[in-house]
Protein backbone atom coordinates (compact mmCIF):
# COMPACT_ATOMS: atom_id res chain seq x y z
CA UNK A 1 0.00 0.00 0.00
CA UNK A 2 2.77 2.40 0.91
CA UNK A 3 4.37 1.45 -2.35
CA UNK A 4 1.19 2.46 -4.15
CA UNK A 5 1.04 5.84 -2.39
CA UNK A 6 4.64 6.50 -3.29
CA UNK A 7 3.88 5.58 -6.84
CA UNK A 8 0.94 7.97 -6.95
CA UNK A 9 2.97 10.76 -5.38
CA UNK A 10 5.68 10.28 -7.98
CA UNK A 11 3.15 10.39 -10.80
CA UNK A 12 1.50 13.53 -9.44
CA UNK A 13 4.88 15.20 -8.97
CA UNK A 14 6.08 14.55 -12.47
CA UNK A 15 2.65 14.85 -14.03
CA UNK A 16 1.48 18.17 -12.63
CA UNK A 17 3.94 20.42 -14.52
CA UNK A 18 3.13 18.48 -17.66
CA UNK A 19 -0.58 18.98 -17.14
CA UNK A 20 -0.21 22.72 -16.57
CA UNK A 21 1.92 22.97 -19.71
CA UNK A 22 -0.68 20.96 -21.63
CA UNK A 23 -3.43 23.30 -20.41
CA UNK A 24 -1.47 26.28 -21.71
CA UNK A 25 -1.04 24.48 -25.00
CA UNK A 26 -4.74 23.58 -25.15
CA UNK A 27 -6.11 27.09 -24.94
CA UNK A 28 -3.62 28.44 -27.46
CA UNK A 29 -4.22 25.42 -29.70
CA UNK A 30 -7.95 26.02 -29.69
CA UNK A 31 -7.42 29.63 -30.68
CA UNK A 32 -5.60 28.45 -33.79
CA UNK A 33 -1.89 28.49 -33.01
CA UNK A 34 0.40 25.58 -32.26
CA UNK A 35 2.17 26.46 -29.05
CA UNK A 36 5.73 25.31 -29.61
CA UNK A 37 7.00 27.93 -27.19
CA UNK A 38 5.71 25.99 -24.15
CA UNK A 39 9.15 24.69 -23.31
CA UNK A 40 10.67 28.16 -23.31
CA UNK A 41 7.95 29.93 -21.36
CA UNK A 42 7.83 27.10 -18.87
CA UNK A 43 11.54 27.33 -18.11
CA UNK A 44 11.17 31.08 -17.68
CA UNK A 45 8.43 30.38 -15.15
CA UNK A 46 10.69 27.95 -13.32
CA UNK A 47 13.64 30.31 -13.34
CA UNK A 48 11.74 33.41 -12.21
CA UNK A 49 10.04 31.52 -9.40
CA UNK A 50 13.31 30.27 -7.94
CA UNK A 51 15.18 33.54 -8.44
CA UNK A 52 12.19 35.37 -7.00
CA UNK A 53 12.18 33.23 -3.87
CA UNK A 54 15.93 33.62 -3.44
CA UNK A 55 15.90 37.38 -3.94
CA UNK A 56 12.67 38.39 -2.18
CA UNK A 57 12.16 35.55 0.22
CA UNK A 58 8.50 35.64 -0.62
CA UNK A 59 6.71 32.91 -2.50
CA UNK A 60 3.80 35.15 -3.44
CA UNK A 61 6.03 37.80 -5.04
CA UNK A 62 8.02 35.08 -6.79
CA UNK A 63 5.02 33.36 -8.32
CA UNK A 64 3.38 36.64 -9.28
CA UNK A 65 6.49 37.85 -11.06
CA UNK A 66 6.79 34.48 -12.80
CA UNK A 67 3.21 34.81 -14.02
CA UNK A 68 3.74 38.39 -15.19
CA UNK A 69 6.95 37.62 -17.04
CA UNK A 70 5.51 34.49 -18.65
CA UNK A 71 2.51 36.48 -19.83
CA UNK A 72 4.82 39.15 -21.26
CA UNK A 73 6.82 36.54 -23.18
CA UNK A 74 3.56 34.96 -24.39
CA UNK A 75 2.41 38.35 -25.64
CA UNK A 76 5.73 38.70 -27.44
CA UNK A 77 5.12 35.36 -29.14
CA UNK A 78 1.59 36.41 -30.06
CA UNK A 79 2.84 39.71 -31.42
CA UNK A 80 5.46 38.19 -33.68
CA UNK A 81 3.05 35.55 -34.99
CA UNK A 82 -0.02 37.69 -35.31
CA UNK A 83 1.28 41.15 -36.14
CA UNK A 84 4.56 40.43 -37.86
CA UNK A 85 2.97 37.43 -39.61
CA UNK A 86 5.97 35.23 -38.85
CA UNK A 87 5.88 31.45 -39.14
CA UNK A 88 4.39 30.13 -35.91
CA UNK A 89 6.55 27.01 -35.81
CA UNK A 90 9.84 28.86 -36.11
CA UNK A 91 8.67 31.54 -33.68
CA UNK A 92 7.68 28.85 -31.20
CA UNK A 93 11.12 27.25 -31.47
CA UNK A 94 12.65 30.72 -31.16
CA UNK A 95 10.71 31.40 -27.96
CA UNK A 96 11.95 28.07 -26.64
CA UNK A 97 15.49 29.14 -27.47
CA UNK A 98 14.97 32.47 -25.77
CA UNK A 99 13.66 30.69 -22.69
CA UNK A 100 16.53 28.24 -22.44
CA UNK A 101 19.27 30.68 -23.41
CA UNK A 102 17.74 33.62 -21.57
CA UNK A 103 17.30 31.82 -18.26
CA UNK A 104 20.84 30.45 -18.37
CA UNK A 105 22.07 33.91 -19.19
CA UNK A 106 20.05 35.52 -16.43
CA UNK A 107 21.28 33.04 -13.83
CA UNK A 108 24.87 33.60 -14.82
CA UNK A 109 24.63 37.34 -14.85
CA UNK A 110 22.84 37.47 -11.50
CA UNK A 111 24.69 34.75 -9.62
CA UNK A 112 27.88 34.66 -11.62
CA UNK A 113 27.90 30.93 -12.12
CA UNK A 114 26.11 28.25 -14.04
CA UNK A 115 25.54 26.10 -11.01
CA UNK A 116 22.03 25.17 -10.04
CA UNK A 117 20.39 27.62 -7.68
CA UNK A 118 18.53 26.24 -4.75
CA UNK A 119 15.85 28.16 -2.94
CA UNK A 120 15.37 28.00 0.83
CA UNK A 121 11.75 27.00 0.42
CA UNK A 122 9.34 26.22 -2.36
CA UNK A 123 5.64 26.19 -3.00
CA UNK A 124 3.65 25.69 0.20
CA UNK A 125 2.80 22.04 0.88
CA UNK A 126 -0.72 20.83 1.27
CA UNK A 127 -0.02 19.74 4.81
CA UNK A 128 0.00 16.77 7.14
CA UNK A 129 -3.73 16.03 7.01
CA UNK A 130 -3.14 14.36 3.66
CA UNK A 131 -0.91 11.63 5.05
CA UNK A 132 1.43 10.22 2.47
CA UNK A 133 0.57 13.09 0.14
CA UNK A 134 1.51 15.87 2.55
CA UNK A 135 4.72 16.57 0.66
CA UNK A 136 2.88 17.58 -2.47
CA UNK A 137 2.63 21.25 -3.31
CA UNK A 138 -0.51 23.32 -3.34
CA UNK A 139 -0.29 23.50 -7.13
CA UNK A 140 -0.81 19.75 -7.35
CA UNK A 141 -3.89 20.18 -5.21
CA UNK A 142 -5.16 23.01 -7.42
CA UNK A 143 -4.44 21.14 -10.66
CA UNK A 144 -7.76 19.25 -10.98
CA UNK A 145 -9.64 22.48 -10.38
CA UNK A 146 -7.55 24.19 -13.05
CA UNK A 147 -8.40 21.45 -15.53
CA UNK A 148 -12.05 21.68 -14.62
CA UNK A 149 -12.12 25.50 -14.84
CA UNK A 150 -10.45 25.49 -18.22
CA UNK A 151 -12.89 22.84 -19.38
CA UNK A 152 -15.81 25.00 -18.30
CA UNK A 153 -14.30 28.09 -19.87
CA UNK A 154 -13.49 26.43 -23.18
CA UNK A 155 -16.40 24.05 -23.64
CA UNK A 156 -19.20 25.43 -21.52
CA UNK A 157 -19.09 29.14 -22.22
CA UNK A 158 -19.85 31.39 -25.13
CA UNK A 159 -16.36 32.83 -24.77
CA UNK A 160 -14.87 29.37 -25.23
CA UNK A 161 -16.96 28.79 -28.32
CA UNK A 162 -15.84 32.12 -29.78
CA UNK A 163 -12.24 31.22 -29.05
CA UNK A 164 -12.62 27.86 -30.77
CA UNK A 165 -14.36 29.52 -33.70
CA UNK A 166 -11.44 31.94 -33.99
CA UNK A 167 -9.11 28.99 -34.28
CA UNK A 168 -11.20 26.73 -36.44
CA UNK A 169 -12.89 29.18 -38.75
CA UNK A 170 -11.58 32.72 -38.27
CA UNK A 171 -13.88 34.04 -40.95
CA UNK A 172 -16.89 32.72 -39.07
CA UNK A 173 -15.66 34.34 -35.88
CA UNK A 174 -15.14 37.63 -37.66
CA UNK A 175 -18.55 37.51 -39.25
CA UNK A 176 -20.24 37.42 -35.87
CA UNK A 177 -18.13 40.30 -34.68
CA UNK A 178 -15.43 38.46 -32.71
CA UNK A 179 -11.85 39.47 -33.44
CA UNK A 180 -9.74 36.30 -33.86
CA UNK A 181 -6.56 38.23 -33.23
CA UNK A 182 -7.77 39.44 -29.82
CA UNK A 183 -9.03 35.94 -29.05
CA UNK A 184 -5.54 34.61 -29.65
CA UNK A 185 -4.03 37.32 -27.48
CA UNK A 186 -6.30 36.28 -24.61
CA UNK A 187 -5.42 32.64 -25.23
CA UNK A 188 -1.70 33.41 -25.12
CA UNK A 189 -2.11 35.37 -21.89
CA UNK A 190 -3.96 32.52 -20.18
CA UNK A 191 -1.36 30.18 -21.66
CA UNK A 192 1.37 32.32 -20.09
CA UNK A 193 -0.32 31.97 -16.71
CA UNK A 194 -0.43 28.18 -16.97
CA UNK A 195 3.17 28.01 -18.21
CA UNK A 196 4.24 29.98 -15.17
CA UNK A 197 2.45 27.51 -12.91
CA UNK A 198 3.98 24.60 -14.81
CA UNK A 199 7.46 26.04 -14.39
CA UNK A 200 6.88 26.95 -10.75
CA UNK A 201 5.66 23.46 -9.92
CA UNK A 202 8.57 21.86 -11.72
CA UNK A 203 11.22 23.98 -10.00
CA UNK A 204 9.67 24.73 -6.63
CA UNK A 205 7.18 21.91 -6.23
CA UNK A 206 9.45 19.35 -4.69
CA UNK A 207 13.03 20.16 -5.63
CA UNK A 208 13.28 23.89 -4.90
CA UNK A 209 16.04 24.14 -7.41
CA UNK A 210 16.67 25.71 -10.76
CA UNK A 211 19.19 24.18 -13.12
CA UNK A 212 20.05 25.03 -16.68
CA UNK A 213 17.69 23.48 -19.20
CA UNK A 214 15.85 21.73 -16.38
CA UNK A 215 12.57 21.53 -18.33
CA UNK A 216 14.32 19.02 -20.58
CA UNK A 217 11.62 18.54 -23.21
CA UNK A 218 8.64 18.57 -20.83
CA UNK A 219 7.20 21.55 -22.71
CA UNK A 220 7.29 19.65 -25.95
CA UNK A 221 5.80 16.67 -24.17
CA UNK A 222 3.03 18.99 -23.04
CA UNK A 223 2.54 19.95 -26.66
CA UNK A 224 2.42 16.29 -27.61
CA UNK A 225 -0.23 15.82 -24.92
CA UNK A 226 -2.29 18.61 -26.50
CA UNK A 227 -2.15 16.90 -29.86
CA UNK A 228 -2.75 13.45 -28.35
CA UNK A 229 -5.66 14.81 -26.34
CA UNK A 230 -7.16 16.38 -29.45
CA UNK A 231 -7.00 19.89 -27.99
CA UNK A 232 -9.54 18.93 -25.31
CA UNK A 233 -8.58 20.16 -21.81
CA UNK A 234 -9.55 16.97 -20.00
CA UNK A 235 -8.28 14.70 -22.78
CA UNK A 236 -4.96 16.50 -22.87
CA UNK A 237 -4.65 16.42 -19.08
CA UNK A 238 -5.18 12.67 -19.18
CA UNK A 239 -2.66 12.38 -21.99
CA UNK A 240 -0.13 14.30 -19.91
CA UNK A 241 -0.93 12.05 -16.95
CA UNK A 242 -0.44 8.99 -19.15
CA UNK A 243 2.94 10.33 -20.26
CA UNK A 244 4.01 10.83 -16.67
CA UNK A 245 2.78 7.35 -15.68
CA UNK A 246 4.88 5.89 -18.48
CA UNK A 247 7.96 7.67 -17.26
CA UNK A 248 7.42 6.76 -13.61
CA UNK A 249 6.71 3.15 -14.52
CA UNK A 250 9.84 3.19 -16.65
CA UNK A 251 11.99 4.29 -13.76
CA UNK A 252 10.39 1.73 -11.41
CA UNK A 253 10.88 -1.06 -13.91
CA UNK A 254 14.47 -0.16 -14.30
CA UNK A 255 14.91 -0.30 -10.53
CA UNK A 256 13.20 -3.67 -10.30
CA UNK A 257 14.28 -5.42 -13.45
CA UNK A 258 17.55 -3.74 -14.24
CA UNK A 259 18.13 -3.34 -17.93
CA UNK A 260 15.61 -6.01 -18.83
CA UNK A 261 13.24 -3.38 -20.18
CA UNK A 262 14.91 -0.25 -21.40
CA UNK A 263 13.68 2.83 -19.62
CA UNK A 264 14.66 5.05 -22.55
CA UNK A 265 12.76 3.08 -25.10
CA UNK A 266 9.74 3.05 -22.82
CA UNK A 267 9.97 6.84 -22.73
CA UNK A 268 9.42 6.86 -26.50
CA UNK A 269 5.87 5.63 -25.89
CA UNK A 270 4.28 9.07 -25.45
CA UNK A 271 5.76 10.31 -28.69
CA UNK A 272 4.86 7.17 -30.60
CA UNK A 273 1.36 7.37 -29.15
CA UNK A 274 1.08 10.96 -30.35
CA UNK A 275 2.14 10.05 -33.86
CA UNK A 276 -0.30 7.12 -33.92
CA UNK A 277 -2.99 9.39 -32.53
CA UNK A 278 -2.73 12.00 -35.25
CA UNK A 279 -2.29 9.33 -37.88
CA UNK A 280 -5.60 7.74 -36.86
CA UNK A 281 -7.27 11.17 -36.77
CA UNK A 282 -5.90 11.97 -40.21
CA UNK A 283 -7.14 8.68 -41.63
CA UNK A 284 -10.57 9.33 -40.19
CA UNK A 285 -10.80 12.96 -41.25
CA UNK A 286 -8.83 12.85 -44.47
CA UNK A 287 -6.14 15.16 -43.12
CA UNK A 288 -4.99 16.90 -39.98
CA UNK A 289 -5.55 20.49 -39.23
CA UNK A 290 -2.20 21.73 -40.37
CA UNK A 291 -0.52 24.83 -39.12
CA UNK A 292 -0.06 26.09 -42.63
CA UNK A 293 -3.78 25.84 -43.17
CA UNK A 294 -4.42 27.94 -40.15
CA UNK A 295 -2.02 30.66 -41.19
CA UNK A 296 -3.60 30.61 -44.60
CA UNK A 297 -6.93 31.34 -43.04
CA UNK A 298 -5.47 34.15 -41.07
CA UNK A 299 -4.33 36.04 -44.13
CA UNK A 300 -7.90 36.79 -45.25
Amino acid sequence: MIEFHEFLVAILRSGTPLIYAALAGVIVHRSGVWHLGLEGIMIIGACVTIIGIVLTNSFIIAILSAIIICIIVSILQWFVIEKLKANQIIVGLGITGIGIGGTAFAVESIFGSLAAISAPFGIPRIGDTFGPYSGLSVLVFIMPFAVFSLWVLLLRSRFGLRLAAAGEHPFAARSVGANPSIMRLIAFCVGGLFCALAGAELAAGSLQIFAQNMVAGRGFMGFAAVIFGGGHPVGSAFAAMFFSIVSVVGIRMQIHFGNFVSHDLLLCLPYIATVLGIWITARAKGRTNSASQISELRVQ
Binding site: L93, G97, I98, G101, V275, I278
Partner: protein, 347 residues
Protein backbone atom coordinates in the same frame (compact mmCIF):
# COMPACT_ATOMS: atom_id res chain seq x y z
CA UNK B 1 16.96 41.80 -59.47
CA UNK B 2 15.34 43.48 -56.50
CA UNK B 3 14.46 40.11 -55.14
CA UNK B 4 18.07 38.95 -55.21
CA UNK B 5 19.27 41.96 -53.29
CA UNK B 6 16.46 41.48 -50.81
CA UNK B 7 17.51 37.88 -50.22
CA UNK B 8 20.86 39.19 -49.02
CA UNK B 9 19.74 42.38 -47.31
CA UNK B 10 16.86 40.86 -45.37
CA UNK B 11 18.80 38.34 -43.27
CA UNK B 12 21.55 40.87 -42.70
CA UNK B 13 18.97 43.32 -41.43
CA UNK B 14 17.53 40.73 -39.07
CA UNK B 15 20.96 39.77 -37.82
CA UNK B 16 21.69 43.44 -37.20
CA UNK B 17 18.38 43.84 -35.40
CA UNK B 18 19.10 40.78 -33.27
CA UNK B 19 22.56 42.16 -32.56
CA UNK B 20 21.13 45.44 -31.35
CA UNK B 21 18.49 43.71 -29.22
CA UNK B 22 21.11 41.44 -27.71
CA UNK B 23 23.43 44.36 -27.17
CA UNK B 24 20.75 46.12 -25.17
CA UNK B 25 20.07 42.99 -23.13
CA UNK B 26 23.77 42.49 -22.42
CA UNK B 27 24.25 46.10 -21.40
CA UNK B 28 21.28 45.84 -19.05
CA UNK B 29 22.77 42.67 -17.61
CA UNK B 30 25.95 44.59 -16.94
CA UNK B 31 28.24 43.34 -19.70
CA UNK B 32 29.95 45.46 -22.25
CA UNK B 33 28.17 44.80 -25.50
CA UNK B 34 30.93 46.31 -27.61
CA UNK B 35 33.59 44.19 -25.97
CA UNK B 36 31.41 41.16 -26.40
CA UNK B 37 30.77 41.65 -30.11
CA UNK B 38 34.43 42.33 -30.59
CA UNK B 39 35.34 39.09 -28.99
CA UNK B 40 32.69 37.20 -30.92
CA UNK B 41 34.14 38.55 -34.13
CA UNK B 42 37.60 37.71 -32.94
CA UNK B 43 36.71 34.27 -31.69
CA UNK B 44 34.74 33.38 -34.78
CA UNK B 45 36.58 34.80 -37.72
CA UNK B 46 39.50 37.12 -37.10
CA UNK B 47 41.61 35.53 -34.39
CA UNK B 48 44.41 33.10 -35.18
CA UNK B 49 43.05 29.67 -36.12
CA UNK B 50 39.58 30.96 -35.32
CA UNK B 51 38.38 30.33 -38.85
CA UNK B 52 39.41 26.71 -38.54
CA UNK B 53 37.51 26.41 -35.30
CA UNK B 54 34.48 27.98 -36.92
CA UNK B 55 34.73 25.53 -39.81
CA UNK B 56 34.56 22.62 -37.39
CA UNK B 57 30.97 23.64 -36.61
CA UNK B 58 30.12 25.17 -39.96
CA UNK B 59 30.83 22.07 -42.07
CA UNK B 60 28.25 19.70 -40.52
CA UNK B 61 25.80 22.58 -40.17
CA UNK B 62 26.13 23.27 -43.87
CA UNK B 63 25.49 19.66 -44.85
CA UNK B 64 22.38 19.39 -42.69
CA UNK B 65 21.12 22.83 -43.71
CA UNK B 66 21.35 22.06 -47.43
CA UNK B 67 18.97 19.16 -46.78
CA UNK B 68 16.64 21.25 -44.62
CA UNK B 69 16.58 23.86 -47.38
CA UNK B 70 15.65 21.30 -50.03
CA UNK B 71 12.74 20.11 -47.96
CA UNK B 72 11.52 23.62 -47.03
CA UNK B 73 11.86 24.84 -50.60
CA UNK B 74 9.50 22.06 -51.68
CA UNK B 75 6.94 23.27 -49.15
CA UNK B 76 7.41 20.55 -46.56
CA UNK B 77 8.17 21.77 -43.09
CA UNK B 78 10.52 18.99 -42.10
CA UNK B 79 11.90 20.06 -38.72
CA UNK B 80 13.27 16.62 -37.96
CA UNK B 81 16.91 17.31 -38.85
CA UNK B 82 18.02 16.72 -35.26
CA UNK B 83 16.53 13.24 -35.14
CA UNK B 84 17.80 12.35 -38.60
CA UNK B 85 21.25 13.55 -37.54
CA UNK B 86 21.13 11.28 -34.48
CA UNK B 87 19.85 8.30 -36.43
CA UNK B 88 22.61 8.79 -38.97
CA UNK B 89 25.25 8.62 -36.28
CA UNK B 90 23.59 5.64 -34.60
CA UNK B 91 23.43 3.66 -37.83
CA UNK B 92 27.04 4.50 -38.63
CA UNK B 93 28.22 3.46 -35.20
CA UNK B 94 26.51 0.10 -35.58
CA UNK B 95 28.40 -0.45 -38.82
CA UNK B 96 31.71 0.24 -37.07
CA UNK B 97 30.69 -2.12 -34.28
CA UNK B 98 29.80 -5.03 -36.53
CA UNK B 99 32.69 -4.54 -38.89
CA UNK B 100 35.42 -3.99 -36.35
CA UNK B 101 38.67 -5.23 -37.74
CA UNK B 102 37.67 -4.69 -41.35
CA UNK B 103 39.72 -2.29 -43.39
CA UNK B 104 38.89 1.37 -42.80
CA UNK B 105 38.59 2.01 -46.54
CA UNK B 106 35.52 -0.23 -46.49
CA UNK B 107 34.14 0.61 -43.07
CA UNK B 108 34.12 4.39 -43.37
CA UNK B 109 32.21 4.62 -46.67
CA UNK B 110 29.83 1.88 -45.54
CA UNK B 111 29.33 3.71 -42.26
CA UNK B 112 28.50 6.89 -44.09
CA UNK B 113 26.12 5.09 -46.41
CA UNK B 114 24.49 3.52 -43.37
CA UNK B 115 24.25 6.97 -41.79
CA UNK B 116 22.62 8.41 -44.87
CA UNK B 117 20.23 5.48 -45.09
CA UNK B 118 19.35 5.80 -41.42
CA UNK B 119 18.70 9.51 -41.76
CA UNK B 120 16.69 8.99 -44.93
CA UNK B 121 14.53 6.28 -43.35
CA UNK B 122 14.01 8.42 -40.28
CA UNK B 123 12.77 11.19 -42.54
CA UNK B 124 10.81 8.88 -44.79
CA UNK B 125 8.13 7.82 -42.36
CA UNK B 126 6.95 11.33 -41.54
CA UNK B 127 7.13 12.06 -45.26
CA UNK B 128 5.07 9.00 -46.10
CA UNK B 129 2.48 9.79 -43.44
CA UNK B 130 2.26 13.34 -44.76
CA UNK B 131 1.85 12.42 -48.40
CA UNK B 132 -0.26 9.30 -48.01
CA UNK B 133 -2.51 10.37 -45.14
CA UNK B 134 -2.02 14.12 -44.83
CA UNK B 135 -0.58 13.76 -41.31
CA UNK B 136 1.05 17.08 -40.51
CA UNK B 137 4.80 16.77 -40.87
CA UNK B 138 5.55 19.36 -38.20
CA UNK B 139 4.19 17.14 -35.43
CA UNK B 140 5.61 13.90 -36.77
CA UNK B 141 9.09 15.27 -37.37
CA UNK B 142 9.07 16.98 -33.97
CA UNK B 143 8.09 13.68 -32.32
CA UNK B 144 10.66 11.84 -34.43
CA UNK B 145 13.35 14.10 -32.94
CA UNK B 146 12.45 13.06 -29.42
CA UNK B 147 12.20 9.39 -30.31
CA UNK B 148 15.60 9.53 -32.02
CA UNK B 149 17.04 11.32 -29.01
CA UNK B 150 15.83 8.51 -26.75
CA UNK B 151 17.11 5.84 -29.13
CA UNK B 152 20.47 7.57 -28.96
CA UNK B 153 20.39 7.52 -25.18
CA UNK B 154 19.43 3.86 -25.28
CA UNK B 155 22.24 2.92 -27.66
CA UNK B 156 24.93 4.88 -25.86
CA UNK B 157 23.91 3.72 -22.41
CA UNK B 158 22.87 0.21 -23.39
CA UNK B 159 24.10 -2.03 -26.17
CA UNK B 160 27.09 0.02 -27.26
CA UNK B 161 27.98 1.68 -23.98
CA UNK B 162 31.63 2.31 -23.42
CA UNK B 163 32.11 0.50 -20.11
CA UNK B 164 35.40 2.17 -19.45
CA UNK B 165 33.84 5.64 -19.70
CA UNK B 166 34.04 7.97 -16.79
CA UNK B 167 30.24 7.97 -16.62
CA UNK B 168 29.63 11.70 -16.89
CA UNK B 169 27.83 11.20 -20.18
CA UNK B 170 27.00 7.85 -21.67
CA UNK B 171 28.82 7.29 -24.94
CA UNK B 172 30.05 4.60 -27.27
CA UNK B 173 33.66 3.47 -27.42
CA UNK B 174 35.99 5.89 -29.08
CA UNK B 175 36.83 4.75 -32.60
CA UNK B 176 40.32 3.48 -33.37
CA UNK B 177 42.37 6.17 -35.06
CA UNK B 178 42.39 4.43 -38.44
CA UNK B 179 38.61 4.83 -38.61
CA UNK B 180 38.80 8.57 -38.02
CA UNK B 181 38.63 11.02 -40.88
CA UNK B 182 39.75 13.94 -38.78
CA UNK B 183 41.15 14.65 -35.35
CA UNK B 184 39.18 16.49 -32.70
CA UNK B 185 39.57 19.75 -34.58
CA UNK B 186 36.99 18.42 -37.03
CA UNK B 187 38.67 19.98 -40.02
CA UNK B 188 40.38 17.66 -42.44
CA UNK B 189 40.73 17.31 -46.16
CA UNK B 190 38.25 14.41 -46.24
CA UNK B 191 35.53 16.32 -44.41
CA UNK B 192 36.09 19.44 -46.48
CA UNK B 193 35.95 17.39 -49.67
CA UNK B 194 32.74 15.67 -48.57
CA UNK B 195 31.21 19.03 -47.70
CA UNK B 196 32.23 20.53 -51.01
CA UNK B 197 30.82 17.46 -52.73
CA UNK B 198 27.52 17.89 -50.90
CA UNK B 199 27.52 21.59 -51.75
CA UNK B 200 28.13 21.00 -55.44
CA UNK B 201 25.62 18.16 -55.65
CA UNK B 202 23.07 20.19 -53.75
CA UNK B 203 23.64 23.23 -55.91
CA UNK B 204 23.33 21.19 -59.08
CA UNK B 205 20.21 19.47 -57.79
CA UNK B 206 18.56 22.77 -56.94
CA UNK B 207 19.75 24.82 -59.89
CA UNK B 208 20.40 22.38 -62.68
CA UNK B 209 17.75 19.69 -62.52
CA UNK B 210 14.04 19.50 -63.12
CA UNK B 211 13.68 18.48 -59.48
CA UNK B 212 15.03 21.83 -58.31
CA UNK B 213 12.73 23.90 -60.48
CA UNK B 214 9.67 21.75 -59.83
CA UNK B 215 10.20 21.62 -56.10
CA UNK B 216 10.46 25.37 -55.95
CA UNK B 217 7.19 25.64 -57.87
CA UNK B 218 5.60 23.04 -55.61
CA UNK B 219 6.64 24.98 -52.55
CA UNK B 220 5.28 28.25 -53.88
CA UNK B 221 2.09 27.12 -55.59
CA UNK B 222 1.23 23.42 -55.56
CA UNK B 223 -2.16 24.06 -57.20
CA UNK B 224 -0.49 25.45 -60.29
CA UNK B 225 1.81 22.46 -60.46
CA UNK B 226 -1.15 20.08 -60.20
CA UNK B 227 -2.69 21.78 -63.23
CA UNK B 228 0.57 21.12 -65.03
CA UNK B 229 0.41 17.43 -64.27
CA UNK B 230 3.23 17.59 -61.73
CA UNK B 231 3.51 14.75 -59.25
CA UNK B 232 3.77 16.47 -55.93
CA UNK B 233 3.98 13.20 -53.98
CA UNK B 234 7.16 12.24 -55.82
CA UNK B 235 8.73 15.61 -55.19
CA UNK B 236 7.68 15.47 -51.56
CA UNK B 237 9.03 12.00 -50.84
CA UNK B 238 12.26 12.82 -52.65
CA UNK B 239 12.78 15.98 -50.66
CA UNK B 240 12.10 14.19 -47.38
CA UNK B 241 14.59 11.48 -48.33
CA UNK B 242 17.28 13.92 -49.44
CA UNK B 243 17.01 16.05 -46.34
CA UNK B 244 17.15 12.96 -44.16
CA UNK B 245 20.13 11.60 -46.07
CA UNK B 246 22.13 14.78 -45.60
CA UNK B 247 21.31 15.09 -41.91
CA UNK B 248 22.31 11.44 -41.51
CA UNK B 249 25.55 12.04 -43.40
CA UNK B 250 26.28 14.90 -41.08
CA UNK B 251 25.72 12.60 -38.11
CA UNK B 252 28.10 9.98 -39.45
CA UNK B 253 30.76 12.60 -40.17
CA UNK B 254 30.48 13.72 -36.57
CA UNK B 255 31.19 10.13 -35.56
CA UNK B 256 34.12 9.47 -37.89
CA UNK B 257 35.41 13.01 -37.56
CA UNK B 258 35.67 15.31 -34.56
CA UNK B 259 33.80 13.25 -31.95
CA UNK B 260 35.14 9.81 -32.75
CA UNK B 261 32.24 8.34 -30.82
CA UNK B 262 28.56 8.88 -30.26
CA UNK B 263 27.69 10.66 -27.06
CA UNK B 264 24.24 10.70 -25.52
CA UNK B 265 22.52 13.95 -26.44
CA UNK B 266 25.45 15.40 -28.37
CA UNK B 267 25.07 18.69 -30.27
CA UNK B 268 21.52 19.16 -29.05
CA UNK B 269 20.94 22.38 -31.02
CA UNK B 270 22.38 21.12 -34.31
CA UNK B 271 19.03 20.56 -36.04
CA UNK B 272 17.51 23.80 -34.86
CA UNK B 273 20.56 25.81 -35.92
CA UNK B 274 20.53 24.07 -39.30
CA UNK B 275 16.93 25.21 -39.78
CA UNK B 276 18.03 28.75 -38.96
CA UNK B 277 20.95 28.49 -41.36
CA UNK B 278 18.60 27.43 -44.15
CA UNK B 279 16.05 30.12 -43.35
CA UNK B 280 18.64 32.87 -43.21
CA UNK B 281 19.97 31.72 -46.59
CA UNK B 282 16.46 31.61 -48.10
CA UNK B 283 17.25 27.97 -49.00
CA UNK B 284 19.88 28.97 -51.58
CA UNK B 285 22.86 26.62 -51.47
CA UNK B 286 25.59 29.25 -51.81
CA UNK B 287 23.87 31.43 -49.26
CA UNK B 288 23.70 28.41 -46.96
CA UNK B 289 27.49 28.18 -47.07
CA UNK B 290 27.84 31.74 -45.79
CA UNK B 291 25.14 31.45 -43.22
CA UNK B 292 26.55 28.12 -41.98
CA UNK B 293 29.91 29.81 -41.58
CA UNK B 294 28.26 32.62 -39.65
CA UNK B 295 26.38 30.36 -37.25
CA UNK B 296 29.35 28.01 -37.00
CA UNK B 297 31.47 31.00 -36.10
CA UNK B 298 29.04 32.06 -33.43
CA UNK B 299 29.09 28.57 -32.01
CA UNK B 300 32.83 28.45 -31.85
CA UNK B 301 33.03 31.95 -30.40
CA UNK B 302 30.50 30.94 -27.79
CA UNK B 303 32.91 28.38 -26.40
CA UNK B 304 35.50 31.06 -25.79
CA UNK B 305 33.22 33.86 -24.63
CA UNK B 306 33.38 33.09 -20.94
CA UNK B 307 37.17 33.21 -21.05
CA UNK B 308 37.46 36.58 -22.72
CA UNK B 309 34.47 38.57 -21.60
CA UNK B 310 32.97 36.74 -18.70
CA UNK B 311 29.83 36.42 -20.77
CA UNK B 312 28.12 33.06 -20.48
CA UNK B 313 27.96 30.72 -23.48
CA UNK B 314 24.20 30.99 -23.29
CA UNK B 315 24.48 34.53 -24.68
CA UNK B 316 24.93 32.97 -28.10
CA UNK B 317 21.88 30.75 -27.65
CA UNK B 318 19.92 33.85 -26.82
CA UNK B 319 21.25 35.59 -29.91
CA UNK B 320 20.33 32.64 -32.15
CA UNK B 321 16.89 32.46 -30.61
CA UNK B 322 16.22 36.14 -31.28
CA UNK B 323 17.18 35.61 -34.92
CA UNK B 324 14.80 32.64 -35.05
CA UNK B 325 12.05 34.73 -33.54
CA UNK B 326 12.32 37.36 -36.23
CA UNK B 327 13.67 35.69 -39.34
CA UNK B 328 10.30 34.64 -40.78
CA UNK B 329 8.53 37.91 -39.97
CA UNK B 330 6.96 39.50 -42.98
CA UNK B 331 7.98 43.06 -42.36
CA UNK B 332 8.41 45.21 -45.43
CA UNK B 333 10.01 48.39 -44.21
CA UNK B 334 7.48 48.69 -41.44
CA UNK B 335 4.71 49.98 -43.67
CA UNK B 336 2.46 46.95 -43.31
CA UNK B 337 2.89 47.02 -39.62
CA UNK B 338 1.90 50.67 -39.42
CA UNK B 339 -1.12 50.13 -41.64
CA UNK B 340 -2.33 47.23 -39.55
CA UNK B 341 -1.76 49.22 -36.50
CA UNK B 342 -3.63 52.35 -37.42
CA UNK B 343 -6.42 51.07 -39.61
CA UNK B 344 -8.43 49.62 -36.77
CA UNK B 345 -9.97 52.71 -35.17
CA UNK B 346 -13.34 53.35 -36.82
CA UNK B 347 -14.52 56.60 -38.27
Amino acid sequence: MNEKIEIIIRPLAFILLATILCGIIFEIAGFSAILMFNSILDGAFLGSRSLEKSLRWALPLFITAVGVGISFRCGFFNIGAQGQFYMGSVCAVYVTEYMSGVNAVIVIPLGMIAGMTGGALWSLWPGYLKIRYGVDEVITTLMSNFIAGLILVYVTSGPLKDQSGSGQQASTKILPSELRISDASGVSLTIILITIGVGITGWLLVNRTSFGTLSSLAGRNPTMLKYQGGKIWQLGLASFIISGMLAGLSGSIELFGPSGRVVSGFLPTHGFTAILVALVASYAVIGTAFSALFFGGLFSAALFLPIFTGLPTSAIDLFNAIIALLITARITLGTNFLRNRWSHPHD
